[in-house]
């Protein structure tokens, strides 16, 4: 769930075409890249898939922060494999966005200029080893909550990317939980690290679903198009209901004194995250926004000679081939 507050575009096209398009979606058909689609549908998807792809890329950074310090060879290997999967998810998603007529370079430029966003969660730091467990357990857990329904999204390439991504994400979540188990059952220091990680990641994880959107016009349009399947509140509730027993099993305390089971609704009552903090993070004032963007900008700038070198070599090869023919 790496897309937050994606605005859907208004669309003013031929009503007959729009109705036929909506009928296809209602019938559960997949829309493929070459087929007609409303401009608003295309633009909203680019925004959503692009934001998701950027999140996978920026998401390498907080986890990469611990690869060189992973405490065992096995943990190091697992973390490397996970970060590699995330870069791979970024690649499928950029490819899915490309089928809508936007190049990866254009999307990258939009990220670097601040025109496009990535998930707020990656602007929080990973401060102790248990954070790597918490990221897998909570962050990937929240992501899965949103991405499982998106396997049924109406746009074919996005839906297929989600099917593949979900398989890997559930694996990551189990690995994250496994780290939390080891930490929670470990020495007093390890248990303190686990609780500290949960304290810091709980509310930012709840923010991943975005603010309540029950009255949002944008969400209604996206839901009609099956670009969005559930409301933010539905997903957040589901996430809390799933996560609380897992925290209890670990012997850790969710940092919410208001948290209690509500028999009537068959779910937990819980405190809302501090939405003013969320909006500050989105605006660029989170603890790591500056570092994350600086790292991506530096990778892009320092890599320019490399990308140009490869292009120049490809041109030389092509010219030599023509000359030989």
């Amino acid at each position: 769930m790496y897309a937050q507050m994606v605005k859907s575009e208004a669309t003013n096209e031929d009503p007959e075409k729009l109705a036929a398009f909506q009928a296809r979606i209602d019938a559960g058909e997949k829309i493929e890249p070459k087929e007609w689609m409303p401009e608003g549908y295309r633009k909203t998807l680019i925004r959503q898939i692009g934001q998701h792809a950027h999140s996978e890329i920026v998401g390498q950074l907080p986890e990469g922060n611990w690869i060189t310090r992973a405490p065992t060879l096995e943990r190091k290997a697992i973390l490397l494999a996970k970060v590699q999967d995330e870069a791979g998810h970024g690649l499928y998603l950029y490819c899915a966005a490309e089928t809508l007529g936007v190049s990866r370079d254009e999307l990258t430029e939009a990220l670097l200029s601040g025109k496009m966003k990535y998930s707020s969660i990656f602007n929080y730091p990973t401060l102790n080893w248990a954070d790597i467990g918490a990221v897998g357990w909570l962050v990937d857990g929240a992501a899965i909550m949103n991405q499982v329904p998106l396997q049924r999204t109406s746009f074919g390439p996005y839906s297929r990317a989600m099917i593949r991504i979900c398989k890997e994400e559930s694996f990551h979540q189990r690995q994250g939980y496994d780290i939390m188990m080891k930490m929670a059952q470990g020495t007093p220091e390890q248990k303190a690290m686990a609780q500290d990680a949960l304290n810091r990641f709980w509310y930012p994880s709840l923010m991943m679903f975005g603010p309540s959107d029950k009255d949002s016009v944008h969400s209604a349009q996206s839901m009609a198009w099956k670009i969005k399947i559930n409301t933010n509140d539905e997903l957040r509730q589901k996430f809390v209901d799933q996560t609380v027993p897992q925290a209890e099993y670990l012997g850790l305390t969710i940092p919410d004194p208001e948290l209690r089971w509500n028999e009537e609704k068959g779910g937990y009552d819980f405190s809302e995250p501090d939405w003013s903090e969320f909006f500050e993070v989105i605006k660029g004032n989170g603890p790591c926004n500056a570092e994350r963007m600086e790292a991506r900008q530096k990778a892009w700038d320092d890599g320019a000679w490399f990308r140009e070198g490869l292009m120049a070599h490809a041109r030389k090869r092509a010219a030599a081939k023509v000359a030989a023919e």
Binding site: G64, L73, Y94, A299, W300, W305, F306
Partner: protein, 256 residues
């Protein structure tokens, strides 16, 4: 130079040389995570680091068994100090720009691949088995690093300049890969590990071919640094281990 006659002691040394080299290089490669020039490189580097760390588990795991003192791969990786590390100096060279990282990888892969091929013929079945598995991964590493060295050497003026600078900087660290000492000779005579100097002809031919295609020129008559295999390292290794081993050292009683 130490003299080791006891075969098991020599074998422990030889296995640490392989495992420490893959560990240290894997660490260096993993430092790129999230910072590579294109997404495909992020994926390739993470994949390569993963292969190298996987190979470390096998080499150091076997080293621990051979030693017979109850140390496993993690104990060897995280609880030895710099002077006990036996990696090649080339592996601990800092990443530099992406050109230096790639050149280091190519110069190493061009040795690693034929070395593993030779180790497949080891009389010790455990070594032959690890070499066969690692060899499949490293064949791909070499294909990739050689291809990129060619493309960037013969790319733009700037990419050529950077690759030549990388080659000039790293070249003095290549000789150590092919220098044999008493440990190597003991192991080669017993038929358990290939002598490093036996790899030289293959390495030289491969490197000459790729550099030729890349329009790069190897420095002539360069001095060759040595000592990593015997535990005398550059200043860089201590800093790497301070990062790598920190959790294990700070919380020695913890299980992770």
């Amino acid at each position: 130079m130490e003299t080791v006659v006891d075969l098991d002691a020599a074998l422990f040394e030889g296995l640490c040389r392989m495992g420490d080299t893959t560990l240290v290089l894997g660490h260096r490669v993993s430092e790129w995570c999230g910072h590579a020039p294109v997404l495909e490189e992020d994926i390739a580097l993470a994949n390569m680091a993963l292969d190298l760390i996987g190979q470390t588990q096998l080499w150091l795991g076997l080293a621990g068994d051979v030693e017979g003192k109850g140390r496993d791969a993690d104990a060897l990786a995280f609880r030895r100090d710099a002077w006990e590390f036996r990696n090649l100096l080339l592996a601990e060279r800092p990443n530099g720009d992406f050109g230096q990282t790639l050149m280091r990888q190519f110069l190493f892969d061009a040795w690693h691949q034929p070395m593993l091929k030779a180790l497949e013929g080891s009389k010790d079945a455990r070594i032959a088995e690890i070499a066969a598995k690692a060899g499949r991964e490293v064949a791909y590493h070499l294909e990739r690093s050689a291809d990129l060295v060619i493309r960037l050497g013969d790319g733009t003026e700037e990419s050529h300049k950077r690759m030549q600078a990388a080659l000039d900087t790293l070249w003095p660290y290549t000789g150590e890969m092919m220098m044999a000492d008493d440990v190597d000779r003991t192991l080669a005579e017993a038929g358990v590990m290939a002598a490093p100097d036996s790899i030289r002809p293959t390495w030289e031919a491969l490197v000459a071919e790729v550099l030729g295609e890349a329009k790069l020129k190897a420095p002539e008559g360069a001095y060759m640094h040595k000592g990593g295999k015997q535990g005398t390292h550059s200043e860089h290794l201590g800093h790497m281990l301070a990062t790598m081993q920190w959790l294990q050292r700070a919380y020695p009683d913890a299980k992770w």
